[in-house]
Amino acid sequence: MIWNSAADFWAMGGYGFYVWGSFGVTALLMALEVGWVRQQRQRALAQVAAESASEHGLSKDWQS
Amino acid sequence: MSAFWAVVQRDLVLAMRRKTEVITAVFFFVVVAALFPLGIGPEINTLRLVAPGILWVGALLASMLSLGRLFAADFADGTLEQMALSPNSLSVLVAAKILAHWLLSGLPLVLLAPVLGLQFDLTEEALWTLTIGLLLGTPILSLIGAVGAALTLGVRGGDVLLSLLILPLYVPALIFGAGAVQAQMSGLGAAAHLSILAAMALVAAVFSPWVSAASLRIALES
């Protein structure tokens, strides 16, 4: 093990701000992107379903 | 070939009826060249150093202002569609429009640049290098700009979008154009830079009309 303690790991030899600033923002943006594409899919499914419903002349309260 | 010159002549005549647009771009170049020293300070040695960059960026921005006009008017009144349907090659007609654009928006900048260069205390050789560089570079700007103008034809917010699209593509011309003057000023000689600019201009002249025509067809068929 390179790290003597958890504190050492987070400190990264004094470079903690830069290392975690890099990995942290990367992880954050990737998480945001995943969230975004999932939301995009949900909206697409909802919109397709809504249009399909109106095409088949269903009542507006088809979602219970 | 006569179709080519007919289009050039037509565009020039039409532009002469709206002189203000042409003059505005030239005026913009003059104003920008004056704004920078006001922002940087009057120290002449500093100004001489930054002059090539400032004048090139100014020319770049000024020539970009008028690109929106390149195809817009003809698109609006249906002339562009006629050109696409005509037996003449659309690439040739587009090349003619680009030439007209350069004569109206590029050439005046080339002629004006040495005058503005005097404000920055550039030497005579430096002014020559600047002028020749812009003579090679402004056609590149018109040629690359035409592709952007064709892609953004009729799109909302087209002008600003056009700038965002083509400015990255302008970077090589800017680097070698301003670099030529800097090389001349530092005694290294601008031959290499100017040769590269000439090569870029040639490549752009060969490819741009064709790519722009393809982009116009995409815009027209939708």
Partner: protein, 253 residues
């Protein structure tokens, strides 16, 4: 081979294929990321010049490579789309763009965070970073153009031309920026300077790069499925999809 190509060129079939593929790609990406991070943080030794700060390369180099590879992939799909006029190629190109832009941004961000402790400034006008900045602008331009055009086919094709023109210009831009940078040496520093990299560092970097690549593929496959749904929404096969029918809780069409 051709038959497979034509089979999956149909959005309906590609939708199903992408749906089956992306979970596996994502799982593989996650596994490689865990492995790469473990190597990078717990196996790779301290760099004697840069201390622990060098570990940023395990994210900086992969995202930089990816920003360029994704742009090449976009150019590939753009070329296919313009040559064969296939709808799916245009969609794949657009599906990749956001991830590529994010990678370009992260390359600049992590590059700045690496540069500050190492060379004292947040930004250095070296050839690679400056080219990366221009690449970021190219991504933004592509996204802006495709979003601004309402007609989806026109947007696809116009974006395709832009992507190709950009891709062909990238070497020219890189070369000019390199020239520009070497002529103004002065305080310029290269990000590759430093001690020769240990085997283990290289290995961790490579594994992280592949992990990012797989992540980009998974995201693109997932994203393209939403695009297919929206574009093909009037088709019967879409209405028959279980996930669409699931939207109708209670009432049946």
């Amino acid at each position: 081979m051709n038959k497979i190509f034509f089979h999956y060129a149909a959005p309906q079939n590609f939708y199903a294929l992408a749906g089956r593929l992306w979970p596996w790609v994502a799982a593989l990406a996650s596994a490689l990321a865990v492995w790469g991070l473990w190597l990078g943080f717990f196996v790779a030794p301290t760099d004697f010049q840069q201390g622990q700060g060098y570990r940023i390369i395990f994210v900086h180099v992969p995202v930089s490579w990816m920003s360029m590879i994704i742009y090449l992939a976009m150019a590939f799909w753009a070329f296919l789309g313009l040559t064969f006029n296939t709808r799916l190629s245009g969609m794949m190109c657009r599906a990749l763009a956001p991830t590529g832009a994010i990678c370009a941004f992260l390359s600049l961000w992590t590059g700045a965070l690496w540069g500050k402790p190492m060379w004292g400034t947040w930004w250095v006008w070296d050839a690679r970073l400056t080219s990366e900045l221009i690449l970021f602008f190219l991504y933004l331009g592509y996204i802006a153009l495709t979003n601004a055009i309402d007609d989806t086919r026109r947007a696809d094709k116009a974006g395709g031309i832009l992507a190709l023109v950009g891709a062909l210009n990238v070497p020219v831009i890189y070369f000019s920026v390199k020239w520009w940078n070497t002529l103004h040496q002065g305080a310029s520093v290269s990000l590759t300077q430093g001690s020769k990299m240990a085997e283990i560092m290289l290995q961790a970097m490579l594994i992280m790069a592949i992990a990012f690549w797989l992540y980009a593929i998974a995201i693109a496959l997932y994203r393209v499925r939403s695009m297919i749904l929206m574009r093909e929404r009037h088709a019967q096969w879409v209405a028959d999809l279980p996930e669409i029918k699931a939207q109708f809780k209670g009432a049946l069409p």
